[in-house]
Symmetry: C2
Subunit: 233 residues, 2 copies
């Protein structure tokens, strides 16, 4: 971590945090589209131009909020995984993490939309977002790897992935040093994307007048995702 030396750096860190907090509050209240630098400055009692000392542009502020949101949902997933413990059944660990993601999303819809909805600032996210963005996925990987190490992992259901998908999966496994078969990795990636499809559809209103028992439906659906990659049963 960076050590803050003088009073100036300390003040800078505090003001930067205050700006992000106020911006996050506006984001939560009104959404990313209505987030206004001038309103943030107004609320903080400073000139709008002073804010540019801390964030060179509105997009940079949004990017900082994106990183924070990824970290927040990642932390929620990790906390859920920790409370579930390593002794629980893999399926239960899986559903616990998934439900934590869903709960966080429902509590922070605008922040969720910022990271898993339309990517607002430009189309290619800065490199700084990729590591926080991976935290939820790493939780799901950890569960699967533990099950694999314990020998309780079946082979994924359904047909075998095509060779190209297995190549991609093997490359990813090598890069992240994941001790899992390529077909499991491929199934994991699909389940990971499908999980956020379920969350996003509920959050963005597609389940309106379609699914009413949202939580039960979600739990059931992610349980099936777990079984499909070979966890449990």
């Amino acid at each position: 971590m960076t050590v803050i030396r003088g009073a100036r750096e300390r003040a800078r860190a505090e003001i930067t945090a205050a700006i992000k907090d106020e911006a996050r509050a506006q984001l939560a209240a009104e959404g990313a589209a209505r987030l206004s630098l001038r309103a943030v400055a107004r609320e903080l009692g400073m000139a709008s131009s002073a804010l540019y000392r801390y964030f060179p542009s509105r997009d940079d502020l949004l990017t900082a909020l994106i990183v924070d949101a990824y970290d927040a949902v990642g932390a929620a997933a990790e906390a859920a995984l920790a409370t579930a413990g390593t002794t629980a059944a893999p399926v239960d660990r899986w559903t616990t993490v998934c439900r934590a993601v869903r709960t966080w999303a429902l509590a922070h819809p605008h922040e969720y939309a910022l990271i898993y909805g339309s990517p607002v600032p430009g189309y290619t996210a800065p490199q700084t977002t990729v590591q926080p963005a991976a935290r939820v996925a790493l939780c799901l990987i950890a569960i699967t790897r533990d099950a694999h190490a314990a020998g309780t992992l079946r082979t994924p259901s359904g047909p075998r992935p095509p060779a190209s998908a297995l190549t991609d999966a093997a490359a990813l496994a090598g890069r992240l040093r994941i001790e899992l078969p390529a077909d499991v990795i491929a199934a994991l990636i699909a389940a990971w994307a499908e999980l956020f499809g379920l969350v996003g559809f509920e959050l963005f209103g597609q389940f309106h007048q379609v699914v009413e028992a949202r939580e039960e439906f979600f739990t059931h659906a992610v349980t099936r995702l777990a079984l499909q990659i070979g966890l449990g049963e």
Copy 2:
């Protein structure tokens, strides 16, 4: 269809269409956030205030684009289903429709983001969007219903949905007059959401450095979705 009587109504219809076309062009080029009424008016050679005779607000124009986008992706899905024909295997019909959705999304990323990413204008979409929004889902339902009628539908894999989910599914089936078992409906809803999770993750860059053979991966994943609701095999 509405019959256009006078020259005034004809002009109004044409100008409304021209506004939407120009707005759609700007949406495709820059995204919903950068869509500007004044720029649309400028490009059309009219005063910005005149545009408000046709769309009472920017959100109303966006809503019109949303409806059009739902209709476009729905039409793409229906066209794919038509070309696949009724004689093809249910799994192939399913993957054909899914791939048409993905192809449309890749060709129209901003329009896709508008409807399946973060819902921009307000949180509750107007009632006029629900019918066009259902067209893709109705394609998937039709495939499943055809397979059920032909007797080639297995029971969905995995555990049975909870009672509340079955109740929701039965209610939906009754409302839409779908002749399908409740557990199939429930599996269909999950697969429907998961399909758009796969598309969205690819489109929004989450598969960056994760999946390279995107098309093969997608086809494989949606094939598994089909098997999971009982189509084919």
